[in-house]
């Protein structure tokens, strides 16, 4: 990798859920592990998230949802990415996501789900290894 290259991550909070702790902690953590994190703040529509991801040319979108609306919102983000030929952007999710919803999330194209107790290093390692893998394709 070129010395100047940085992995760019969009941390987004879709919907009206205002629980920001996880999103902010992950943003700080990834910054301290050398990532460039674009944080969009609360109350993003899924269309806005897709638009931001494209304009910012991010490698990864991290969605943080604690309102129970994760299935609808995530599906809409992924649909939006496909419509914009941007399905190469890695999508990961975090927040309160019940175990039984994880398969559905994965099926719709979420690469990983990180819930309470995950470490930031885990998240960072996942991003690095997944990005590395697909770059070799």
């Amino acid at each position: 990798m070129n010395q100047q290259e940085r992995i760019r991550v969009l941390i987004a909070k879709p919907g009206l859920d205002g629980h920001e702790r996880g999103a902010r902690v992950v943003a700080y953590g990834l910054r301290d592990l050398g990532f460039e994190v674009i944080y969009t703040g609360l109350r993003q529509t899924t269309a806005q998230i897709v638009q931001a991801a494209i304009q910012e040319d991010v490698d990864v979108i991290g969605l943080s949802i604690l309102s129970g609306a994760h299935l609808t919102l995530t599906e809409n983000v992924i649909k939006g990415l496909k419509e914009n030929q941007a399905e190469d952007i890695l999508v990961i999710a975090g927040g309160i996501i019940p175990e039984e919803d994880k398969p559905a999330m994965q099926q719709m194209g979420v690469h990983a789900v990180f819930t309470a107790g995950s470490s930031i290093e885990e998240i960072a390692d996942f991003i690095k290894s997944t990005k590395g893998e697909s770059a070799d394709d």
Binding site: E5, Y28, R31, E36, V37, Y39, Q44, T45
Partner: protein, 319 residues
């Protein structure tokens, strides 16, 4: 994540108005990835019609919100706007949190406005190029007004706004001597001063401070930059500010002389960047470096000769 688009493809995308490819080219150029120079060479002749506005000021001056208000007003006038928002990289990890979008949420529904966040990345002059090159890409893409917004605390950031056609400095009341806080070198190149958050007490004092400072520093033959009071919350002064910016755009900003100076400056910084990159390459070569360090430690060599030797490598590298 196969990012295999050739620079030719990306350039084509920019010219055809493809947002995704354009955003990618910005990444390639920012990262100085293979093909970036070719792409910029190809785009340069097409550029030059957009107006670049540099906005700087101390942290907490409300630059992002102000930028958002200006962009919205411009978009209402059917102008196509691009925003490059710069935040500092962490000196420790090299990472960054780019949070300017947070203050620009109103713009997200606006199709004509493109926002790109950028980190300073701590490269010598690197950001300056990335921002200027990105502005150029946005220019060719069809943006008519490009706003580069940055915290005016580092030299890098001062350099960026210097590349703008119109430089706007934002101050606020209640930050102590906010005029003093403005980085040296900015005051002299500012075309416009904005006293933001004018709904707060003390705005008039800041205006007076700036004016008295300007009277001291501006040379006799120059026109004195105007000072405008704004308040994003009350939507005060934004119209006037946008009017000023547009008037200046119509007049055209730069004399031929000034433009030549700027081209010289750009060439100089590009050259510096080239040299720096080459030196870095040599620096990263651990074998040679290790060898030299060992020799110096053993007093068989000295740092002065070693550096001269490295310059030899650099020169041969160039050939």
């Amino acid at each position: 994540m196969a990012r295999t688009d050739s620079w030719e493809n990306l350039v084509k995308g920019v010219i055809n108005g493809d947002v995704r490819l354009m955003a990618r080219l910005i990444t390639v150029v920012e990262n100085r990835q293979p093909g970036w120079q070719e792409a910029m060479k190809r785009l340069y002749p097409e550029s030059g019609s957009a107006t670049v506005i540099g906005i700087t000021g101390s942290p907490g001056a409300g630059k992002s919100s102000l930028t958002a208000s200006i962009a919205l007003k411009l978009a209402e006038k059917n102008l196509k706007v691009g925003i490059i928002a710069v935040d500092p990289s962490s000196p420790f990890s090299g990472g960054a949190i780019l949070g300017d979008r947070l203050r620009m949420q109103k713009l997200f529904t606006c199709e004509q406005i493109f926002i790109r966040s950028m980190a300073t990345r701590g490269m010598l002059g690197g950001l300056c190029h990335a921002a200027r090159d990105s502005a150029r890409i946005l220019d060719v893409f069809g943006k008519e007004i490009i706003i580069i917004e940055t915290v005016g605390v580092g030299q890098d950031e001062v350099d960026i706004v210097k590349t703008a056609d119109q430089v706007m400095v934002v101050c606020v009341p209640g930050q102590g001597d906010s005029v003093q806080a403005i980085k040296a070198g900015i005051m002299e190149i500012a075309d416009l001063f904005v006293v933001n958050k004018a709904d707060k007490p003390g705005a008039d004092e800041v205006v007076a401070d700036i004016q008295s400072m300007l009277e001291l520093s501006v040379e006799a033959d120059q026109s004195i930059p105007s000072v405008i009071k704004t308040s994003v919350v009350n939507n005060q002064g934004i119209d006037e500010l946008v009017e000023q910016l547009l008037q200046a755009r119509q007049k055209g900003f730069l004399s031929r002389e000034k433009e030549s100076l700027r081209i010289r400056a750009e060439m100089k910084t590009l050259l510096e960047e080239e040299i720096f990159r080459t030196v870095s390459r040599v620096w990263q070569d651990n074998e040679i470096l290790e060898q030299l360090v060992m020799e110096i430690r053993e007093r068989k060599n000295d740092p002065y000769s070693a550096v001269q030797a490295m310059m030899q490598v650099y020169k041969s590298d160039k050939n």
